[in-house]
Amino acid sequence: MTVAAPPKTKHNLKLIYQKPESLTDSPTHYCPGCTHGVAHRLVAEVLDEMGLREKAIGIAPVGCAVLAYEYFNIDGVEAAHGRAPAMATGIKRVLPDRVVFTYQGDGDLASIGMAEILHAAGRGERITVIFINNAIYGMTGGQMAPTTLPEQVTTSSPRGRDVATQGFPIRMSEILAQMDGAAYVVRRSLHDPNNIRKAKKAIRLAFEAQVRGLGFAMVELLSTCPTNWGMTPIEAMNWVRDHMVPAFPLGDYKVAPELQKLRV
């Protein structure tokens, strides 16, 4: 006797991919090939997996991610340019049991907000920082960033960044790892699936550091800006691999012992 297989209906389809609950249904405004969307998704997946969505408060920067709070299905605030770590400090100090994170670009974090990020790290502020480094100012139209590479052409370094007059790129992970208050400082890249998987693990650990009260945590994510770089999305991914990774070496710059043992 044979039993007929049940008819295949949509009810029997296995769901293998959906938006994390920590993201809203809002479509993002990011350009094709921009990695902000990837970074948002990784953060949201981690919040979901750790069950933190209802405890999370995110702080959006000034920069392309200025509207990040519209894409995250969590409570959010919008900071002044560079001041997200100070704002996060204010929130965390009155709500110490919430999970507070900032999401900042290179201009925001490494230029105008240098004092705030250094001191948040120095205090060991129990916050998580997602640092998007794409070596350029996106929102204002492609000007030089503190992380712009030597010779890199931007609208404010039209002949290429001249280190003699415009200085050298600043490596934030290396600097912040020196802070006694930092528990977790690593650099990852978003230019291919393998690196994206590693980035997600790092983001997970950066939130674990906060939940465990270990101190300041930052994940620097090498990211693309195809529009302002004047490249296709694929060229942009390759440019991260070929030019940014050599200038900003990927790796773990500081990992608190409690996190080294953790398997995530």
Partner: protein
């Protein structure tokens, strides 16, 4: 409560704690540092947040963050710090969250000095940050009044979802007077329905001052303006002394106002019918009360510890209906009552003409050709 002899800075800090302050963020600057130091000692005792920030820029943004959670929060500084905080103050106003800022004014501009001054009047009242908003500004003239106004400042800030400044000068910060402190209020447990706290069991909330669509930003601007108009109707505060039969009116706020009080009393002893009008709320400014006085007084004398910054608001209030003169000391100088008394005598004996420039006589006296 029994009276205690307290330094203004310490009394303001303790008054804030008793008003249910949950978090303080600040940066040391003379002449307000005792306020921060008292917070450093007392806030941890109460299990509340205290943090010395790396700068005034960071301090005001910490205040901003804490304010977004609906917590009672404040900072304190002096003029150079207000300059650095201007950015954050504007964001707080634009996000429509409440915060209290104490400005213990010192001599300026620039690094200036640490002596008492009222030189931040224009900065705080008319220019506390970019964009369209209206901070509420209260100016105590004594330590007791500072204590009372600090308590009110939090309630007002929350009622109108705005920034409230308490502007003292170095002398109120540094002097000691007997004060009666209020009973400590319990910390508020409930949070406003706009506060961020984690989206547990409710839709997610966002607090921002970013409104990319001008038509939306305009509506926010109008909402802020409407709240300001309510504050204008409800929050005008001033003190009157010897005004019932006064022919001449001295106007001054804060320390300049109380210095003028001594001069007015001395002038009364000489038979001059003079009174004192002391604005306590500098914003909303008591325009109507001053307009009424302008209609019945022979002349005004505006006394300040600056170059005549409130003078311009008094002129706007008086609408040309009374001639007036100005007397001020600047750069950290505090006038003695004798100086003001001399001005009152001159005012009575030789009143200003309607077209006289209020600063002319004063400048000629201060800077003889």
């Amino acid at each position: 409560m029994p009276r205690e002899l307290m330094k203004g800075n310490v009394a303001m800090a303790e008054a804030a704690i008793r008003a249910g302050l949950e978090a303080y963020f600040g940066y040391p600057i003379t002449p307000q540092s005792e306020l921060l130091e008292h917070m450093a000692k007392r806030m941890p005792e109460e299990g509340r947040a205290f943090l010395q920030a790396e700068s005034e820029v960071a301090a005001i943004n910490m205040v901003y963050g804490a304010a977004c959670t609906g917590a009672r929060v404040m900072t304190s500084t002096s003029g150079p710090g207000i300059s650095l905080m201007a950015e954050g103050i504007s964001y707080i106003a634009g996000t429509e969250v409440p915060a209290v800022i104490v400005d213990v004014m010192r001599g300026g501009p620039g690094l200036g000095n640490i002596a008492p001054s009222q030189g931040d009047y224009r900065q705080v009242i008319h220019g506390a940050g970019h964009g369209d908003f209206f901070p509420i500004v209260l100016a105590p003239a004594s330590v007791q009044e500072a204590v009372d106004l600090i308590g009110e400042a939090f309630d007002i800030a929350e009622k109108y979802r705005t920034v409230v400044f308490v502007v003292a000068d170095g002398s109120i910060g540094q002097m000691m007077e007997p004060v009666e402190l209020p009973e400590p209020r319990p910390l508020r447990r409930e949070r406003p329905d706009w506060a961020v706290s984690g989206a547990a069991g409710r839709p997610h909330r966002t607090l921002t001052s970013l409104y990319l669509k001008p038509e939306v930003e305009e509506r926010i601007n109008l909402r802020i303006l409407k709240r300001w108009q309510e504050a204008e109707a409800n929050e005008v505060r001033y003190r009157e002394y010897y005004l019932d039969d006064a022919e001449f009116v001295v106007l001054g706020f804060g320390t300049a106002g109380r210095v003028a009080l001594s001069a007015v009393r001395a002038a009364r002893e000489e038979g001059i019918r003079v009174g004192l009008f002391r604005p306590v709320s500098l914003r909303p400014f008591p325009y109507q009360a001053i307009r009424d006085l302008a209609q019945r007084a022979k002349a005004f004398l505006v006394v300040e510890m600056n170059g005549g910054q409130m003078l311009e608001d008094v002129q706007a209030a008086a609408q040309g209906q009374v001639p007036m003169r100005f007397y001020g000391r600047m750069g950290g100088m505090v006038p003695f009552p004798d100086e003001v008394l001399e001005e009152i005598r001159t005012l009575a004996a030789d009143p200003p003409t309607p077209t006289e420039n209020p600063r002319a006589r004063w400048l000629a006296h201060m800077m003889p050709a």
